[in-house]
């Protein structure tokens, strides 16, 4: 379960197991990582509360616990790079700089939502920010992400695409069809596996013959790396390598982020397939925000008071988003017929 234990184990097996590289961040960068992760967490906590209050309906998949992944990944990207993921996407959107108001109002199904209330929690887009969704069918985004990379290469840019998917999605056939084409044509795509150990109620070991998911590209000649996804600096370091690989025209790369979701699969999941202890242990020992907080304080880069102030400011931002999402009017019934075709 523990990310570092697993990478030790894999180090003995795979040729490409990661050295525990970490990004050397400036104090400013460290603080930005911290703030970005905090925003994701506070946003998700608020979404959870609003779901409880009946303001959000249907499916709502929270990202709490996995913040280091989307924040570390996004920090390595530049303008024109593309990101695509599944339905657990609120965090990726915060990291991509999408407006929290638009995201929260999409969750409440209001006209101010980034999909004008039509998409809901699982289907949100912000192409202006390089965020291409938000997809409800497990695995579908992997082919789409491959297409985003195809376009980047076709247009002769040095941009990359990041196609995020889960440990569960890693068992969809189209993932492997994509791997093959991406390597065949050396497309600049980073296949970013968020291995949070579970696909709904199914643990990786119960669903995968090869549980070291970073090795899934070997027969396609795609290099892969396993990364401590609870450590934002490790995520960033691995991304720097993968991005350089892609921009240099060497084709795709796989990064397996070992991470963990604290909440149930969606709001309606009582999570009986794992023990409370398992979750508790992860929170206590490996929490990405706590780890960075200690680093910041131990390094003397900030103090408790400043972090508290930052938390207040982030909470205010999220409260604004929640207020907007509650006050934004419901979409007009005529909206049903718009945007079906251009």
């Amino acid at each position: 379960m523990n990310a570092s234990t697993s990478s030790n184990k894999s180090a003995g097996r795979g040729r490409r197991a990661s050295k525990p590289a970490v990004y050397e961040a400036s104090p400013e960068e460290l603080l930005k990582f911290y703030r970005d992760m905090l925003l994701v967490r506070r946003f998700e906590e608020k979404a959870g509360q609003m779901y409880g209050m009946g303001l959000i309906g249907g499916f709502c998949h929270l990202y709490i616990g996995q913040e280091a992944v989307c924040v570390g990944v996004q920090s390595a990207l530049k303008d024109g790079d593309a990101v695509i993921t599944g339905y657990r996407e609120h965090g990726h959107m915060m990291a991509a700089g999408c407006d929290p108001k638009g995201v929260m109002a999409e969750l409440t199904g209001r006209s101010g939502g980034c999909s004008r209330g039509k998409g809901g929690s699982m289907h949100m887009f912000d192409p202006a920010k390089g965020f291409y969704g938000g997809h409800g069918i497990v695995g579908a985004q992997v082919s789409l992400g491959t297409g985003l990379a195809f376009a980047a290469k076709y247009k002769k840019t040095d941009n990359v695409a990041v196609a995020y998917f889960g440990d569960g999605a890693a068992n969809q056939g189209q993932v492997y069809e994509s791997f093959n084409m991406a390597r065949l044509w050396n497309l600049p795509v980073i296949y970013l596996i968020e291995n949070n150990q579970y696909a709904m109620g199914t643990s990786v070991a119960r669903a995968s013959s090869e549980i070291e998911l970073y090795r899934r590209g070997e027969s396609f000649k795609i290099p892969g790396k396993q990364v401590d996804g609870m450590n934002v600096l490790a995520v960033r370091a691995a991304m720097d390598e993968a991005v350089a690989h892609c921009r240099a025209g060497k084709g795709p790369m796989i990064l397996e982020m070992k991470t963990y979701r604290y909440r149930g699969h969606s709001m309606s999941d009582p999570a009986k397939y794992r023990t409370k202890d398992e979750v508790q242990k992860m929170r206590a020992e490996r929490d990405p925000i706590e780890q960075l907080r200690e680093l910041l304080l131990d390094g003397g880069h900030t103090d408790e008071a400043a972090l508290k102030e930052m938390d207040k400011e982030v909470k205010a931002l999220v409260a604004d988003a929640a207020a907007f999402a509650t006050e934004s009017p419901e979409p007009d019934a005529a909206e049903l017929y718009t945007d079906v075709l251009a």
Binding site: G57, G58, F59, E106, G109, R110, G113, S115, G117, K118, G119, G120, S121, M122, H123, H135, G136, I137, V138, G139, A140, G168, A169, N171, Q172, G173, A199, M200, G201, T202, R206, A207, S208, K272, Y273, E330, P331, A333, E335, L336, Y337, V340
Partner: protein, 325 residues
């Protein structure tokens, strides 16, 4: 009679058939925990992991695997969690399952059952709310069932497992919390036998799955205004009980269909076409197809409520038809 929900009745029927027939096995995602809607409750504990097979998220291949197993005489019950995910494995459905008997000149039987869920109304969004039984029904070589209550859900499953053909059963999520009476033995329910749920002299109203209670409510209201609505639940879409529908139209002279499926080229259109072609001379008014608009299912509660047909829309359509002399 026992009050049961659809998932309870399905689970109970599966207990019965699995105990009686060792060729029956279950395969799908998250079944060991009892299935996400509870339709596999207690099966893993009782029959073990060899017969209740939890899969990776690999719909194309586990449906294909089910088809392969059925070719050699097994009776797989394949669960596709939401019918929207049929998109992932539609080739296996449309090209492999549906054409096997035909292409083998009848030498290969396919006693395969696909259970899936459908329906809007719970804010699940455009990829977890569709009702695409019309898509399956448009493929020759598939049987398609749409139960509207627990007894039918269980009974159709049993009939499907007794037969030699691939059957897709679409269970509507919007009905999962509703208890309906069922004979505890859960007797098989025949395919192609529509059920007339309410007699009426003025309009024939065919309603499918979760639209059945909507149709009954509308019929109640209209009865107070002196309009007799005959409500028919077709139970299966293929085979379709054409005779029951046409006999009713011959009596009432008016026809409406209430269908949560596609507004265009779906089951509603098919039924209107049937009635126009076969009962043209009995019609006193143009038939009505009451469906959602031809758009994806919206998430916003306000839009989703406007998207789903309700009793008021049915009443308006029927009142208009009554004026149309």
């Amino acid at each position: 009679m026992k009050q049961m929900t659809i998932p309870q009745a399905v689970a109970e029927a599966l207990h019965q058939v699995m105990a009686a027939d060792p060729a029956v096995f279950l395969i799908g995602e998250d079944l060991a925990m009892g299935g996400v809607f509870g339709a596999a409750k207690g099966l893993k504990e009782r029959f073990g992991p060899a017969r209740v097979v939890d899969t990776p998220i690999s719909e194309t291949s586990f449906l294909g695997l089910g088809i392969g197993a059925a070719m050699s005489g097994m009776k797989p019950v394949v669960e596709i969690m939401f019918c929207d995910f049929l998109g992932v494995c539609f080739d296996q459905l449309m090209n492999q399952a549906a054409k096997m008997r035909f292409l083998s000149g009848g030498t290969v039987s396919l006693p395969l059952v696909i259970r899936t869920t459908m329906g809007a109304g719970d804010g699940s969004g455009a990829m977890h709310s569709q009702s695409n039984y019309g898509l399956a029904a448009s493929v020759a070589g598939l049987r398609v069932a749409c139960p509207s209550n627990s007894a039918d859900a269980a009974g159709l499953l049993k009939t499907a497992l007794e037969g030699p053909d691939p059957v897709v059963i679409f269970e509507h999520k919007g009905l999962f919390d509703v208890e309906t009476p069922a004979d505890p033995e859960l007797p098989p329910v025949p395919f192609g036998k529509a059920r007339t749920l309410r007699q009426g002299a003025d309009v024939t109203l065919v309603a499918i799955a979760a639209m059945v209670p909507v149709a009954l409510a509308a019929a109640d209201h209209l009865a107070k205004r002196g309009i007799g609505v005959e409500v028919i639940d077709p139970v299966t879409i293929n085979p379709l009980d054409r005779e029951a529908i046409l006999a009713s139209v011959a009596k009432t002279g008016r026809f409406a269909v209430l269908d949560e499926g596609a507004a265009f080229a779906g089951v509603a259109d098919a039924l209107v076409s049937l009635v126009v072609r076969e009962a043209f001379r009995s019609l006193k008014a143009a038939p009505a197809a009451i469906t959602p608009p031809h758009t994806p299912v919206p998430y916003a509660p306000a839009l989703e409520a406007a998207w789903l047909p309700d009793a008021a829309r049915v009443e308006a359509a029927i009142l208009k038809m009554m004026e149309d002399v």
